[in-house]
Amino acid sequence: MSGPTIDCERAQSGASERSGISRRKFFGYVVAGTTLVAAADIALSEPATAAVPSPPQVPELYDLNDLLTDATRATANLITVIINEDGTASFALPRAEVGQGITTSTAMIIAEELDLPVEKVKVTLADARPELLFNQLTGGSNTTISTFTPIRVAAAIARNALLEAAAILLGDEVNKLVAKAGVIQAPDGRSVGYGELAKRAAVSETKKVEVTLKDVSEFKVIGKEQKRIDARAAVTGRKVFTTDLRVEDALPTMVCRPPTLNGKPVKLLNEAEIRAMPGVTDVAMIDTGVAVRARTFGQCIDAVRAMQVEWKPGPVAGESDEDIVRKLRQAEIPLPKISELGLDKIGIGPVNLNLVKSIDADFLFYFRSNSALDTNSAVADVRKDRAEIWASLKSPIVTQQTIAAELGLPQHKVKVHVVDGGGSFGRRLFFDAALEAAKISKAMGKPVKLMWHRADDARAGRMHGMATSRVRALYTGKQVLAFLQNHTSIETDYRHGLGDLITASVANLPTGLGNLGFAETIFALTQEIPYNFGVVNQSLVETDQRFNTGSMRNIYSPDVRTAAELVVDQLAAAMGMDPLTFRRKFLKDKRVLACLNKVAEVGKWGRPLPKGMAQGIAIHKEYKTASACLVEIDCRPETVNRKIPNAVTGPRVTKAVYAIDAGLVINPTGLRAQMLGGINDGIALTLTSSMHLKDGHFLEASWDNYFYTRQWNTPPEVEIIVMPSDRKTPGGAGEAGVAASMAAVACAYARAVGRVPDYFPVNHRDPLAFKPKPFIPPIPQSPTNGLKLTW
């Protein structure tokens, strides 16, 4: 997706980015200002096949864009690198940092082109900038892919401007000067720092300039291990998340939520009593529940628990897992039959249909939560004529537009600040807390700091929809003739659009057709079977809009890949081949094959293991990255039944080896960190983590109910290999680690127990490992016995 004007440099760039070869000459700007401001168009290199795809009806969107006067300004889409008088560079990244390390990688990219030490580059998160249209969405592992070139261009222009200013000051020619570590040196040894040049390099009128980027071979920062630029703040407690903000008079605020999912409040029956409680300042009813504002969150919890509220039941009242499974099954479409496939057209000569064998598999994936540790939260200060919002937001523009519409304010009267997020995993593509906080602040007429209780964040927060994935693989002898997969899912909500209200509105059209269009487009653009399997067909059906859903690190891939790789193992077995040998024979992508071979070698594929232990191996390709994962799992009774107090233990993944080719890698240690997270996600998705719907609500209300991987389930041995790549452009990393990991764990589990599971996580139908917390009151009280539990 690009803005309303497509100039030739962008078009050229797009083509070269797609082929993985970078070009180096670009135009950008030196922008008028009192200090040096260098800029580039953020849409400069946006590839046409970005992981977040074009919505349907693209021509309509272009027309609508034309109406947005902001976007017609030539410099509207600029991102700017500013050189400060203290010799630092500043950059406001129009993306959300939620742990994926993009502020660090962005600082590295700027440091590289600018010849400035990384620690002198200050990266902050930009407020909502509506003029950026589709270019302020953090999703689809797309940040580095889409911002790499424009950020480099801006930094390189800054460097050139500094060199020109230095040439005048030092009385020498630009090409004789050397920029290094923030200092420019002349051949005679005289030097001047960037700080001193910042004002001298400033211009009074914006000018367009051409710049040549460094060649990959000249990189000194990109590709080197760089520790996170926010690590020190994190380990000293100074890193600021939304609920740590101190906005004047924004007192703690919580919401009493309904006992069934998405129920509605009718009346607060004891308002006077609640208002009289210690610390309570305000009470207000909104569409999602009853809000209370108090001096402390503890007093909010007390008030929420004391509320007697009349509720209207939610849309899934009375329904449980089994009911939703039944609805999904009804929505499934038949997989194509052999006769419908046109096998004669795939170039393998005549096929004797009587010799064709079929493997049919059917997998069910239960609901899973994308709740982060930092719960949904937002600060809102809504006044009569303006509003200000602070939250971790991956789609700040549509947030701003939606809140403005809700409050009846012009868009530019709503200021939206993007705060560091304590995790996202898809959750922060939406702005549920920001919108809710705005409504509450308006109703109370005061600033609020809204925080969702953990129980609400788990039960009423967004999640990955329940899904089935059915596969039919046809083979004859040692050839696979067809691989057909249909994924049927509870609707995935894409109503954040591409980060702006226009595409969000497309997804929000009545009847849900718009959202389905998004879903199908995203499915088509992200799913791939990278094997030579003859006729390959993957399709998606989505149904049922009653749940709070969204992407979950990532969207379809972990489930779709797990179903596919389990069938790959079955094909291998049917042909009497080892899973590794089979994959080597059928893989069609060299980068994936290299990853596969690497994990097989490092993980010692095929090494003897005791009965009850097994290896699993799987691959994945997405976001311009190739990867493979090998795990070893221990399903022996002594391991499965190991005791940790209040813990779900079960099978243990004892070793994980992951290889990734992510193209040009900015920060290898950051990339490995993302893969480490992906491995732990994959383990949880296969073995332990799911939501149980019972009588109209989800049961899980804490981290001791929802079993994300913990220390007792994490692999003691992990090795992550960043593969050398021939690609000169970066691939996506944030989500790339999950699918192959989940699939490898599933394949290992199936081999260890001698049975292919048909639902995930494999413990979902075990007796509940916890006593569900009550629904009325909706949140649990904090214990008081902490002093007896010190250690």
């Binding site: 742990g99 703040a233 380990v235 740590d244 002093l787």
Partner: protein, 158 residues
């Protein structure tokens, strides 16, 4: 309103607040000490882990009225002052291993790690894999392996 007194990161503090407000909210909402994080409020996620008189505790599960004026509470903000150097060795180990991703759970992880090292030393032994397996602090980013490596390095320098 009752007056609550305790020692926070080496300094005596006095706060006017009801006895039953949990220490976590006194720290975060009244005193503005936001290193200890909220993750559940029911002593499960351990994101608020801090120290009381040198031992790990979770302020979400302690009423402020139950503190004694002589109780020493140390949060992540005060950890460095309990050791030589600009950072505590465990914080330094966290930097060396580049543990943090989003960073939200890491103050609690570090405080738990320091307490664990002290606990096993009181028991006259060193940290085992079984000890590491029993750390309850959740990290939704999944940084567990790096946490384990950092604890071992931090312990060596403590």
């Amino acid at each position: 309103m009752p007056e609550q007194t305790f020692i926070l990161n080496g300094k005596k503090v006095t706060v006017d607040v009801e006895d039953d407000v949990r220490v976590l909210w006194v720290l975060r909402d009244i005193l503005g000490v936001t290193g200890p994080k909220y993750g559940c409020g029911i002593n499960v996620c351990k994101a608020c882990t801090s120290h009381i008189n040198g031992r790990a505790f979770n302020p979400c599960a302690v009423r402020v009225g139950d503190l004694e004026p002589t109780d020493h509470i140390t949060t992540i903000e005060g950890l460095a002052d309990t050791a030589d150097g600009e950072l505590h060795p465990m914080q330094q180990a966290w930097l060396d291993k580049d543990v943090s991703q989003c960073g939200y759970c890491q103050p609690g992880q570090i405080m738990a790690a320091v307490a664990l090292v002290k606990k096993v030393r009181r028991e006259g032994r060193s940290i085992t894999d079984a000890d590491l397996d029993q750390i309850r602090n959740i990290c939704r980013c999944g940084t567990y392996s790096r946490i384990r490596e950092a604890i071992e390095e931090g312990a060596r320098n403590m």
